[in-house]
Every structure is written in structure tokens, then in C-alpha cells.
């Protein structure tokens, strides 16, 4: 079996379930891949490894970075989108005059991570008038948010709300960015053009395996995957995993819209174009990027694994 | 100042009131060396007492004990008459120059006065006078490393005297000076002593110097360091070049010398056997 490495952008968690599932239950192995999952972290960036050819696939956050790559002449391609919706939410305290999306910009403090600040926050600034001076970095510890009732904070709909509810003792308001127009694909699979050219079968196998993995993880027996996740990240709790899965289903993060017909991982040209246009309009990206270079649809939209959905 | 009044006129053997008594004083360092053993010694106000003895016999240690820089491991120091003797009335010339390396000569001599709150301007005349006394006029702005060995020692002497202390402890102050300058400074010191009547404990290696200066010479022996003999120098003050050439002086020197030889020969320990 060919050895490949897939770099994630966070410590192992349910949001990576599909890959762990496919690695654990032999789905990748079935089409000839021996996949190693290299977990990331808040200050860990695996993308340079992908650029340097040290790893084969990397988990992208959203499409913006793929656009950046084109702008910098980097032959990087998005080959599949595991999340149809950006799971990123903005959380606020209920009853603080921050209950509507339009009001959020009035918060005292926006707790936004560095990566967020470079992507969706730019869009929030130009599109909705958020004040960049109010941003403080999110060090991936939600305590300051809970402590400051007038603050808002970024989070994954699958993750932070659980911790906040459990420890803060209240249900935060959740504003899914996707619902307000940030309709990028998320948790993409990125690879280099060279890999696509030289080893298309490997890419295909990884994309297909991942799709199957996601179906199995969401709808089948995911015990092995969860065990693998907990092995990599012993701090995570079963409750947290259960919550994440439930949220992914509830919000249709992985499986909704186009995936009904095209299968998990689906991407469409129209959607990417429309997102790009929005971002251009919001002046987040320049208008002269040839975004066709940022992705390829050659490996997705084949309905692979749909049959596994129960 | 008061002492001057209370004091009997200049006399040879110490007749002043007792200033300090060492009673059975011993000092054993933590490495086991017995530097002093059972030393009894009385120092009277106005004394000019010399300590004479072979190298390593505990002279410096005795001086440090008197100054309160070290404590005896046995016995006691009895500062009777001035039960809580103020140690800032002591002037100390260390065996090594002990100057502040970052300060120039002026600042080094000014230091004791500065510590007593005397401003630079106020101290200047006194400091300059002391520097002139030790022949260092013109070197006020030199730092210690720019001085010769003897010059450093002279700065140290000037510093000890600048406060006009009541008790002056001097550890081989003139050892690094040529004999002529040494004689001059000897005379200066004696003059000053007679005028001000402070108390001097003077460590020296020179029999001649000790006899010329002091009214009492205490000869020490080594291993363990102890008082070997005390010699009263009953020659009258003032002493001057005439005294230096007198037969009395020669006789006293011979006597002191003999005692010193006795002290050295009495020294236990293997290292003198060969000689």
C-alpha cells in the first residue's frame, strides 16, 4: 500500500471523524492507501509541509486560502470539500442586546483567532461594519468570552458551544456564518498539482475513501474512529464527540444540499464563483484571481458512498 | 577630642584607661585552621601598639576581630569603658588596598566621609589634604588600576585617616613603600598621633618600624597564633631622626629582633625543621 500523510488543522476531534473512520476501518487501505493522519493545533500550520511536498494532503479551512495560493502562484488545488457549510459560528451572550446578527458589531470585544481575523473577519468588517479595533485574539480558550457578557467569540458550531454551555452554564446565541452569506466550503482536502498529475489514482482513492469514511462515521459504527481520535487526543470526552456529531447532522455541515445527489465532498463551480464574487465585493480578495486554478472537480461529485447512508 | 583633655601627657607605656581587652580569644576557621589561640591583650586609649610576628601567625585575623569583622570562636572582646563602641570610629587599613575599582582616587578617599553624609564640596579640602600627606596630589582622577602597588596602598591609608578615627587599625600599611617614604610617613603618623591621641594597632613586619613607632610591641608566634611576648618601648615621645640613630633604639631593635627569632623558632610545625 502507498503511504500518504494527511495533515489536519487541529487536534483530533469529531470534526475529523470521517478520515479517522476511513483510516481505522480499512476504507483507504481497500483502494491501496496507507494513510497517516497528522494532527495539527492552534499554532501548528501544516500547509507549508504540503507546499514542500512533505505531506500529500492537507485539511484546508475554507476557500479563501486556496484563492491566496493562486494569487501567490502556488500550484495548490482543492480536490474535495468535506464540509458543505462553514461550521464557524459567532457566539454571543443571550439578553445582552446581542441577540441579532446586526447587533453583534456593538459588542465590546470580538474574540477572533488569527486565522479567522485573516478570513471571515475581513468579510465581517467590510460587509457588516465590524470594528477591527475591537478584535482580540482567540487563544482557543473560551473563558474570556464567558467572563465578558458584552463580548462575542468565534467557534465551531460543533465544539465551543458545548464547552460554553457546560462550563458557563448558559446556551449562547449561535450565528452560523454560512447563514449570513459566508457560503464557502470548509474542511477541504488540498493537494499539490504535482500529486494530481503524477498520482491521480492516489488522490481519487483518498477523496473517495474520505467520503465513505464520513458516511460511515456519521451513520454507521464509529467506535473505532472515536477510539483513534481519543488516542491522538486523550483530553477529548465522549460527550463532546457525541455533541459534535449531533451538531454536524443538525446543521447539515457535512451532508446537505448538493451532497444529496453528488455525495459527500461535493463542490460546484457556481458555488465557488458566487462565494468569490461575494468576497471580491467585500474587498476581502482582489478581483483578478483566476479561481479556476484553485480547485478541480475531477475527483468529486460522483456520488461515491451514498449507498452507505442509512 | 575629649580624650586629649582626659589624657595624661604623652607617655611611653600605655597608661590611658582601658579601651579594649581580648580575653582568651581564639579563632578557628571553618576549614579547621586555628588562626588564634587563647590571646590575652589589653589595649589602652592612646596606645600605639605594634603587632609583630611571622607570616600567618594571625595578625590580620586579630585586627579583624578587634574591628568586629570577625567573631572569636572562643573567648571574648571586652570593650569596657565604651560598652557599645561605635565601629564607625575605627579606621582600618587592610593588608590589601581594597579600593573601589570603579571610583577614582578622590572618590575612594571621600567614601568614608560620604557615608557619613559629607558632601563632595565639603569633603574636598580634607580629602586633598590627606592625598597630599600620602604624596598623591595630582592623581585624584586616576582609577585604581592606573596606580602602582604602593600608590594604591597610600590611597587606602588616606581613606582610613580621612575621618580622623579614634582607633586606627593598620595592617602593614607601609610594606609596599620604599624606606625613605616610609620614614616620612612614619614621622607623619607619629606627629598626628601625638596631636590627636587616637589609639593605633599597627601590624608590621619591620622590627625597626615597630620599635620606632610604638609604645608597646606585641610579638606573636604561629601555629597556633598566640601572643609570644610583649615588649614595652619606654623611649619618650616625640621620637625623630635622632631617636632613630640613638643606641637606645638599636638596643631595643635588637631586643625585639631576638624575641621575634624566638617566636619564629618556637613555632611548631614541620616546615621550619629544614632550616
Amino acid at each position: 500500500n502507498e503511504k500518504v500523510t494527511f495533515g489536519t488543522n487541529w487536534l483530533a476531534q469529531a470534526e475529523h471523524g470521517g478520515y479517522y473512520q476511513a483510516a481505522a476501518d480499512g476504507t483507504y487501505a481497500a483502494c491501496g492507501l496507507d494513510v497517516t493522519i497528522m494532527q495539527g493545533g492552534p499554532q501548528v500550520s501544516g500547509r507549508p509541509l504540503l507546499l514542500a511536498g512533505k505531506i500529500d494532503f492537507y485539511m484546508g479551512g475554507n476557500m479563501l486560502q486556496a484563492f491566496d495560493a493562486v494569487q501567490q502562484d502556488i500550484p495548490l488545488r482543492v480536490v474535495a470539500a468535506s464540509f458543505q457549510k462553514e461550521p464557524q459560528v459567532i457566539m454571543s451572550h443571550p439578553g445582552q442586546g446581542l441577540d441579532k446578527w446586526e447587533d453583534l458589531k456593538n459588542a465590546d470585544q470580538y474574540i477572533i483567532g488569527d486565522e479567522g481575523a485573516q478570513s471571515f473577519f475581513q468579510w465581517m468588517i467590510t460587509e457588516f461594519g465590524f470594528d477591527p479595533a475591537k478584535r482580540v485574539p482567540y487563544t482557543f480558550n473560551p473563558a474570556p468570552f464567558i467572563a465578558n457578557k458584552k463580548s462575542i467569540q468565534q467557534g465551531y458550531v460543533t465544539s465551543e458551544p458545548y464547552a460554553v454551555a457546560k462550563e458557563g452554564g448558559f446556551q449562547p446565541n449561535l450565528f452560523l456564518l454560512a447563514d449570513y452569506g459566508f457560503d464557502t466550503y470548509a474542511t477541504t482536502i488540498e493537494t499539490m498539482q504535482a500529486t494530481i498529475d503524477k498520482r491521480p489514482e492516489v488522490v481519487q482513492c483518498f477523496v473517495d475513501g474520505s467520503a465513505k469514511g464520513w458516511y460511515n462515521y456519521l451513520y454507521g459504527d464509529n467506535a473505532a474512529a472515536n477510539a483513534a481520535i481519543k488516542k491522538d487526543n486523550p483530553d477529548i470526552s465522549d460527550e463532546q464527540i457525541a455533541f459534535s456529531i449531533e451538531q454536524m447532522k443538525k446543521f447539515g455541515i457535512v451532508d446537505s444540499g448538493d451532497t444529496e445527489k453528488l455525495g459527500i465532498g461535493a463542490m460546484t463551480e457556481e458555488r465557488i464563483q458566487s462565494f468569490y464574487d461575494k468576497m471580491v465585493k467585500a474587498k476581502v480578495v482582489p478581483d483578478d484571481i483566476d479561481i479556476k486554478k484553485s480547485y478541480t472537480l475531477a475527483f468529486v461529485n460522483k456520488g461515491v458512498g451514498i449507498e452507505l447512508k442509512k | 577630642m575629649q580624650e586629649k583633655v582626659a589624657q595624661a601627657p604623652a607617655s611611653a607605656s600605655g597608661k590611658g584607661p582601658m579601651l579594649l581587652a581580648l580575653r582568651g580569644v581564639g579563632k578557628i576557621f571553618s576549614n579547621g585552621v586555628t588562626a588564634l589561640s587563647d590571646v590575652d591583650l589589653t589595649i589602652r586609649e592612646g596606645d600605639f601598639l605594634s603587632l609583630l610576628g611571622p607570616s600567618g601567625c594571625g595578625k590580620s585575623t586579630a585586627l579583624r576581630l578587634i574591628a568586629g569583622l570577625a567573631t572569636p570562636t572562643s573567648g571574648l572582646l571586652d570593650w569596657r569603658g565604651s560598652s557599645s563602641f561605635d565601629r564607625s570610629n575605627i579606621g582600618f587599613v587592610f593588608q590589601e588596598p581594597t579600593l573601589l575599582p570603579w571610583a577614582d582616587v578622590f572618590d575612594n578617599v571621600w567614601l568614608p566621609l560620604r557615608l557619613k553624609g559629607v558632601s563632595r564640596a565639603k569633603a574636598a579640602p580634607v580629602v586633598m589634604e590627606m592625598l597630599a600627606r600620602v604624596h598623591l596630589t595630582g592623581f585624584e582622577n586616576a582609577v585604581p588600576r592606573e596606580l602602582s602597588g604602593g600608590m594604591k596602598m597610600r590611597v587606602s591609608i588616606a581613606r582610613a585617616m580621612v575621618t580622623k578615627p579614634r582607633v586606627l587599625l593598620m595592617d602593614e600599611p607601609f610594606a609596599a613603600l620604599d624606606e625613605i617614604t616610609r620614614f616620612k610617613l612614619n614621622n607623619d603618623l607619629l606627629e598626628l598621633w601625638q596631636d590627636e591621641r587616637f589609639t593605633v594597632v599597627f601590624v608590621t613586619h619591620s622590627v625597626f618600624e615597630s620599635v620606632f613607632l610604638s609604645n608597646r610591641v606585641v610579638v606573636m608566634a604561629a601555629r597556633p597564633g598566640r601572643v609570644f611576648r610583649e615588649i614595652a618601648i619606654d623611649a619618650p615621645y616625640p621620637r625623630n631622626e635622632a631617636f632613630r640613630t640613638s643606641p637606645d633604639y638599636a638596643a631595643l631593635c635588637r631586643q625585639a629582633s631576638d624575641v621575634l627569632i624566638g617566636a619564629i623558632n618556637s613555632t611548631a610545625g614541620p616546615h621550619h625543621d629544614g632550616h
Binding site: 487536534l11 497528522m38 494532527q39 495539527g40 493545533g41 492552534p42 499554532q43 501548528v44 500550520s45 500547509r47 507549508p48 509541509l49 514542500a52 512533505k54 487563544t139 482557543f140 480558550n141 473560551p142 473563558a143 464567558i146 467572563a147 465544539s159 464547552a163 460554553v164 457546560k166 462550563e167 458557563g168 488516542k231 491522538d232 487526543n233 486523550p234 483530553d235 477529548i236 470526552s237 463532546q240 | 582568651g24 576557621f29 571553618s30 568586629g68 569583622l69 570577625a70 567573631t71 572562643s74 573567648g75 571574648l76 572582646l77 571586652d78 570593650w79 560598652s83 557599645s84
Partner: protein, 283 residues
């Protein structure tokens, strides 16, 4: 004997004060720091209670202690991973720092030529250059070591260089006169003379290599099961598991103090016979 000593005490009040103080000091030297530590912990507890600080922000010390016990297995195995990196990187920092200092001491030229690179290493944010390291270094431990080393080596280099240049001029002359080779001068004069400075740098580097190990792991990420305390801190923070986060921090703190104490002891043992900073004031 005691009678005499008591007599001495009445005679010299300053002396008496000194003896009393010495006795006190001997006890206080250990008791007081402990008392202050306990006081600080108590204060921490009180502050939490007085200000109603919720446990997800700053848990009370009791809770942290409980967590330290409950999660001992997890935390201590992580500590071990971090400690491994810490000690290895400290070792490398010593070798690298002293080695470079010795090299720099060979000539002003070498020093002026290569010191800038050392400074560049010191001031480059690891986060920023880690991607490069990540690309060109394969072994995870090597990556971590490199990061921690970059953080820790500079104080040793800087202090040792200073020490090597602070040798007494007369001693240097004496060596020159005796026809000492460069190496002999280094071995018998400059290195021993630089010892106090080096040991001072070592005490700084001890803490730095610990924090360096933690930072390295922050940046380089955990590797599978054998993840160190940084991973525990990140995940505990993300999951709002403040007690565990603080338990990990406490563990780091105590490790830091322990390293410092050990290095201080080593320093004391090496210097106690001759250097002022380590000499017992003998009176």
C-alpha cells in the same frame, strides 16, 4: 564556656543581635518561603471566593490539587515527555552556548562575525520560522529540540562570553609568560574564571529550556500519544477544563522551581570554595 559567651552577649549588644538573627535565619530560611507559598495559595483561594471567580476562569487551588491527583497519570506522563525535551535542550544549550562562547573568545573577529547570527537566532520568533524547520527536519524530537534550544541557548552564550572576557589581566599575563597555548589558557584560566558567569546563564537557561520545550510543542504540535504538557494545556483550555489547565501550569511551575533549585545547588557546589557569590560569610 556558655557563661563566657553569655557574658559576651551582655557586653556587646550588636553581637547578641547578630547571633539571634543567625539562629532565626537558619530556621526562617526554609520556613518562611514555605509559609509565603502557603500564604500565596491561600490568597489565591480567597481571591477566588471573594470575587466569585467562576472555576472555568480561575479554579480554586483545592480543585486544582484534586485534578492534579485525579489526572495524575495523564499529566505526569505528559510532564515526562516535556521534561525529556527540556533536559535534552538544556544540554544542547550548554554545549552550544559554551561551544560558541569559546569559539567567539578565540578572536574579536570571530565574535564580531558570528555573534550577529546568534542574535538572529535569539530574536526570530519560533512560530514564524517553524514551518521551515518543519519542512527540513523530519524527526519530531529533533524539531522540538531545535525550537527549545533556540529559546534557551542565548543566555548561556552571552554570559559565558562575558565571563571569558572578564579574566583578571594579571592572571592572563601570568599565563602568557608561562607560554600557555591558547587551549591551555582556555582550559586552565578562562573557563574556570567564566564559571560564575556561565552558571548564572545556566540558571536563566534552565527555565528557558522548560518554557522552550512547552512552546516548541505548542508550535510543533503533539505527536500521537506521547504528547507533552503543551497539548494538555491547549486542549484543556479549548474544552474549558480550567482545573486541568491550571494543574498542568502548576506542574510546569514546580518543575521550573525544581530545575532552578537543582541548578543553584550545582552552582553552589562548584563555586563554594572560591567565589564570593557562593561563599558562606565567615566571621
Amino acid at each position: 564556656m556558655t557563661a563566657i559567651e553569655e557574658h559576651a552577649l551582655t557586653l556587646d549588644p550588636e553581637e547578641a543581635r547578630r547571633v539571634r538573627q543567625e539562629r532565626l535565619e537558619r530556621i526562617g530560611r526554609w520556613l518562611l518561603p514555605l509559609a509565603i507559598m502557603i500564604l500565596a495559595i491561600w490568597l489565591w483561594d480567597r481571591i477566588c471566593v471573594w470575587n466569585d471567580i467562576p472555576k472555568y476562569i480561575l479554579p480554586r487551588p483545592g480543585v486544582v490539587l484534586q485534578t492534579l491527583f485525579d489526572d495524575a497519570g495523564l499529566l505526569f506522563s505528559s510532564l515526562l515527555v516535556t521534561l525529556k525535551i527540556t533536559f535534552l535542550s538544556l544540554l544542547l544549550a550548554v554545549i552550544g552556548g559554551v561551544g560558541l562562547a569559546v569559539l567567539f573568545a578565540q578572536s574579536k573577529w570571530v565574535e564580531m562575525s558570528f555573534f550577529p547570527f546568534a542574535i538572529v537566532l535569539q530574536v526570530t520568533p519560533i512560530v514564524a520560522i517553524f514551518p521551515l524547520i518543519n519542512i527540513y527536519v523530519d524527526n519530531q524530537t529533533t524539531k522540538l529540540l531545535l525550537c527549545a534550544w533556540i529559546v534557551a541557548f542565548f543566555p548561556i552564550l552571552s554570559n559565558t562570553t562575558l565571563g571569558l572576557n572578564s579574566v583578571d589581566r594579571n592572571l592572563r599575563d601570568m599565563f602568557k609568560l608561562n607560554g600557555a597555548t591558547r587551549w591551555q589558557q582556555l582550559r586552565y584560566l578562562r573557563l574556570p574564571a567564566a564559571m560564575p558567569y556561565f552558571l548564572g546563564g545556566l540558571k536563566i537557561a534552565g527555565g528557558l529550556s522548560l518554557i522552550g520545550a512547552v512552546v516548541a510543542e505548542f508550535v510543533a504540535g503533539a505527536q500521537g500519544q506521547s504528547s507533552g504538557l503543551a497539548s494538555r494545556i491547549i486542549e484543556a483550555g479549548y474544552r474549558l477544563n480550567a482545573p486541568r489547565l491550571f494543574a498542568a501550569l502548576i506542574l510546569i511551575s514546580f518543575t521550573g522551581i525544581l530545575i532552578f533549585l537543582v541548578l543553584s545547588l550545582i552552582s553552589h557546589l562548584i563555586l563554594r570554595r572560591w567565589h564570593e557569590s557562593a561563599l558562606k560569610q565567615e566571621r
